[in-house]
Symmetry: C2
Subunit: 688 residues, 2 copies
């Protein structure tokens, strides 16, 4: 066993393959599939551990850092280097001519991002936990290695498995082949037991830390996206304490004659609080990214991801236009036509979603709210609510599926855009569902009792239930799969007596755990989608009805404190280790939160009017109301719709991206060689 | 004369020096100042032409392209290259290892920006008019050459001038010395007579082109900032035609029973028009910049200028912090403290300005409007207006001076920020002055007659007058200076008989022309400040009162069509050639226009209420009014004040900037050498 050799290299990837059952064609021509796979993995340098499960076989893979480094170099990974950082301490290298002095004499922390080279690995900055690659980078390398195994021979290799035979053609990827032949069932990242236990102790079960979390450790273990979510949740909860205390004071203290002014003051404070919070969050986010050595230029829409994903799509659309260089003007026009066509498609889809929400969902919600208001008997009310809950489950699912389908039609350039588009659409659905009924009770019927009831109910009961569900459902799923597997096994063992297998190996347990996926569909989003949705709906609930029920903030704060630990527990214990994602910000959700702030300004004003004008003395004539509505719609147009026309034409953006990537690509290799003193190599390379 | 040698190199810079009058110390020890100057200029490679004027002497300077190139290389100017652009046509250079292929196989227009090197000048893209350097770049090079002349000797050189003697110390800049000794009076850019005449014919006098202008030629002659202004003015005027026609139709056609709905419809159209216009302007702006080969990343606040100016200030503040590398956390904290302190200072200054506008200017304006409304006699009204006009002249000047003083106190990091800060402050002043009185008439007294009168008066009379003034005042100034010079000359010539001088040489005429400077002070802004201010005030006038007087758009369109030619004439004929500025966008003005759109949504709603509610049946109770006001204030906070907290901490920004500049600096020289095949040179440089 090679496990002992790579002591520090933990097994991080699991491959599930069908167990070899039928061995009857014996020593006929052809190689055994699993043997070939293991052999090829070992040839790339991976450390393989075979574990037999109940009725699957598992390969645990680990990679020593040299192997990862080789893969990273092949992938042209960009990494932060010490170059630039250390100019202050070290003597100036010989090639620093005077021309470089103005910038080399300054001394900032950050180095330069360059393509990774194994020979110069000392030039690259290590992660805070001492490893050379972050989890995101390691995962990319693993992926590259596993799917990069191709048949290098001249002729096809005959593979056999459970009596079947098939050819592994030259140039074909082995993993793809085995996946299409359904021999390899799944490839998934494995938990690192020591780190997981450490996190469990220091994070999930550390209840008395309240909002503090070991964010850097979370980042090291889960990658950028999940760490960003927990950083956001922690900061949000911490900030929530101020309005929570304020809200409770408002509820408990009687201000006497000042009572009339307290509520508007609270309103103003809350809005300012929210605006400031999101600004400070953006600051914190960029600080975190700087600490994690991720280059991300604020404003220019996540340039970091651009480099990775979008660039390739620009590239392919440029390749289809054959003679770009010759006819600039014409090409630009074509680019522009494509850009506008894509935009029109997206606009059409948005219009479909918005119209169907307004024309189908809105009447339904209002009808429910109206019936609820007009029915007297409690029993009928209960029945109505049950029916309603059943119906919206169904509706939401349909809506989600339609959204996903529409988005797939769009020729969106990168998965980030697609994911954001999905987020907006699904949130629109939930927005109507969550708030319209409450607004109806409050504004049209001035029924503040129902409103408070609904808010309390949603904030406490439904969230407690949801947390319970979130944590128990995966366990139920896990138990069911395990139970089925054992039953299946027993049934088969009656037939013929196989060898005794290790029961309940750790990797098999993990394989039975559910994937951390979004309820809406797992292609574009992972499980964070549901968590963010919950957070956004909660934020909307407490902000939009702040004036009607100030102590809601206290409930929300309480709820979030438990949410932090519950989510941590869920992700550490209940689910498989999630595939790391590179998203560096909270993305579309930030815009949704900002939108909710604006909406809450308007709804709170309406609520204040309703609260202070119980006698209906402040008549709003239809004319005035029409003008006020028009004003708000126009403000919406001004701020929301200015996004319809992008500031920068696509071809200009393409140029800019080209400029940035090209320059860096061209320089990095040469520069590194020069610095590590490999002058001879450079000359050699030039003379080739 | 060397003029014949550089046929294509026109004289572009003029240096004004005092004429040598007293020659009586004759051949005593020391060199003649002007001779030394001319000699040094020629030594740098400049072509010098001496012209004697009425009582000054002028040196006209020109530079052959080689000399400019040398200066550009010394300045490390970044220029767009063909590298990256041509990878598709040319065979891949030898050093393109396979690792570069993914990006080198794509073919976009833009090359990479690299530091200029004279030896590799073919690698750099030429301007559209065939010259290697743009006017901005040429001007920078001239400046570098002229002020870069230092005494390289070991000992001071004794210079004499008009009987005075002084020492030119070693290492001292000659021009600074002569300027402090008041021998060199001024250095200013010269008009290029052929190009000027061409522009005059094709642009200023080409009245029938309406809004079309030869923007690229304007860019080549005047640089980015002025070309951007005229591109904006042209596009704005073209777009203005739509609401102009719409407004005229509204005025002339009677819609019968639909009349009630036409005005709100017009209002909605106008707002959408404005929002769309500014989005399309941003697109056009980035298209222009791409055409002019200026790297500018939208969003990240003019990264182009960053590289030039702000970087150095970051650098210096970093230099003051001595051991940055050792104690990251502490340094970051210090950085943050400085950032917040600067922000507080700015906040204080803004508060002073806003408070003084609200507490001093607002009552004054309201008092005037109220008196104007209540006074019956026309004679008294006339007197009042005269007094008012006199007073606001005075007030505006004081306000402007206070603003400039406050801004100088701020420790702003770059001149761009400072300029923007000034723009906001001065615009605030004018905003109150221009619109508050009109709003008072409209909303409080529902006096739409006065409102329309004032609008017409402002749009036509005052703008016609302003245009006349703008064009005649410089001429008057010019004539006066010429007259004084001639009279002075005559007086002197009575004394002693000097040689006959060429009268009215072209350069002397230009010297008498006034500088293209802002009325508010010429340190931070040039003459475009006034033009933009005029444009913004006009935009506010027509947008804010759109519903009260729709045909205003037609007046504005008409006015702008003449404004284009008048401004062109002004800048071509009346003024000296302006110093080119690198501003790549319209900067702060864009935010002001956007702000005016939001304000106009609110004012138009108020106007509509006043128009449709003549009988006052729609009572707005104080409670409702209070809540509405609160809503608007909160929306303002949401959208305006989220700028108070910057998204990115300064130190993160510093890191990012470092990253970008450093990488480019380090690469450019090496890359260029490799491409032009100078491999030997590289090795040599490395071995030094």
């Amino acid at each position: 066993m090679e496990t002992l050799k790579g002591k520090q290299a933990a097994f991080e990837i699991g491959v599930v393959i069908h167990k070899r059952v039928v061995d009857d064609i014996g020593d006929s021509y052809g190689y055994d599939c699993d043997e070939v796979l293991v052999y090829e993995f070992q040839k790339v340098g991976l450390i393989v551990d075979r574990v037999a499960g109940l009725h699957d076989e598992f390969l645990k893979l680990a990679a020593p850092v040299e192997v990862l480094g080789q893969a990273a170099a092949e992938l042209h990974l960009k990494k932060r280097t010490h170059i630039g950082e250390t100019t202050h301490d070290n003597p100036t290298p010989p090639f620093y001519l005077p021309i470089f002095l103005p910038s080399s004499s300054c001394s900032f922390v950050a180095g330069v991002d360059l393509q990774f080279e194994w020979d110069e690995s000392e030039a690259f900055i290590k992660q805070s936990d001492g490893s050379l690659f972050s989890w995101c980078e390691r995962f990319r390398c693993y992926n590259h290695m596993i799917y990069g195994i191709v048949n290098n021979g001249e002729s096809a290799v005959v593979l056999k498995f459970n009596g079947r035979k098939f050819n592994w053609e030259p140039g074909e990827s082995l993993m793809w082949k085995l996946e299409t032949e359904a021999i390899v069932k799944e490839v998934f990242p494995l938990h690192d037991e020591t780190k997981r236990k450490q996190l469990l102790k220091r994070w999930a079960l550390n209840l008395w830390d309240l909002t503090n979390q070991p964010i850097d450790e979370i980042y090291a273990y889960y990658g950028t996206k999940i760490a960003t979510y927990f950083a956001f949740l922690g900061m949000y909860t911490k900030w929530l304490l101020f309005p929570a205390v304020f809200g409770l004071i408002l509820q408990l203290v009687d201000f006497g004659s000042l009572q009339l002014f307290v509520l508007p003051f609270f309103f103003i404070c809350i809005i300012s609080w929210a605006v400031l919070f999101f600004q400070f969050w953006k600051r914190k986010n960029s600080t975190l990214l700087a600490r994690w050595q991720i280059s991300y230029s604020a404003g220019s829409e996540s340039a970091y991801k651009y480099m990775d994903t979008e660039w390739s799509s620009f590239h392919s659309s440029a390749a289809s236009a054959k003679k770009w260089g010759e006819n600039k003007g014409k090409e630009n026009e074509k680019f522009q036509r494509e850009e506008w066509f894509g935009r029109m498609m997206r606009f059409r889809n948005d219009a479909i979603i918005i119209l169907s929400i307004i024309c189908l969902q809105l009447p339904f919600e209002l009808a429910y709210a109206h019936l609820y208001e007009s029915i007297g008997s409690d029993v009928v009310k209960f029945g109505l609510t049950a029916g309603y809950l059943f119906a919206i489950q169904y509706f939401t699912q349909i809506g989600g599926k339609v959204s996903v389908k529409l988005i797939k039609d769009e020729k969106n350039k990168c998965s980030e855009y697609r994911a954001n588009s999905l987020v907006y659409k699904v949130f629109g659905l939930y927005f109507m569902q969550s708030y319209i009924g409450i607004l109806y009770h409050a504004v049209l019927h001035r029924n503040f009792m129902t409103l408070r009831q609904v808010i309390i109910q949603r904030l406490i009961i439904s969230e407690v239930l949801e947390n319970l569900m979130e944590n128990s459902l995966p366990y139920v799923k896990y138990s069911y799969r395990k139970y089925r597997a054992i039953r299946h096994k027993r049934k088969r063992e009656k037939g013929y007596a196989g060898g005794k297998h290790i029961f309940n190996s750790r990797i098999e347990k993990e394989y039975f755990k559910p994937v951390y996926a979004a309820s809406i569909g797992d292609e574009l989003e992972d499980g964070l989608f549901d968590d963010f949705l919950e957070l956004a709906l909660q934020f909307g609930m407490i902000m939009m009805f702040a004036c009607a029920f100030p102590p809601a903030f206290a409930f929300a704060a309480l709820n979030n404190i438990t949410e932090i630990r519950a989510d941590a527990l869920k992700i550490l214990v209940m689910f498989r280790r999630p595939v790391p994602r590179v998203d560096a910000t909270i993305g579309a959700w930030l815009n949704i939160f900002q939108f909710l702030i604006v909406v809450s300004i308007c709804t709170n004003c309406a609520l204040l009017v309703c609260l202070y004008d119980r006698e209906g003395k402040w008549n709003i004539s239809p004319g005035l109301a029409a003008i006020l509505i028009m004003e708000h719609v126009l403000l919406l147009i001004k701020f929301g719709f200015s996004r319809i026309v992008p500031e920068e034409p696509d071809w200009v953006k393409a140029n800019r991206m080209k400029n940035a990537t090209h320059a860096q690509n061209m320089c990095s290799k040469q520069l590194l060689r020069n610095i590590s003193g490999g002058r001879g190599m450079l000359v050699k390379a030039n003379c080739n």
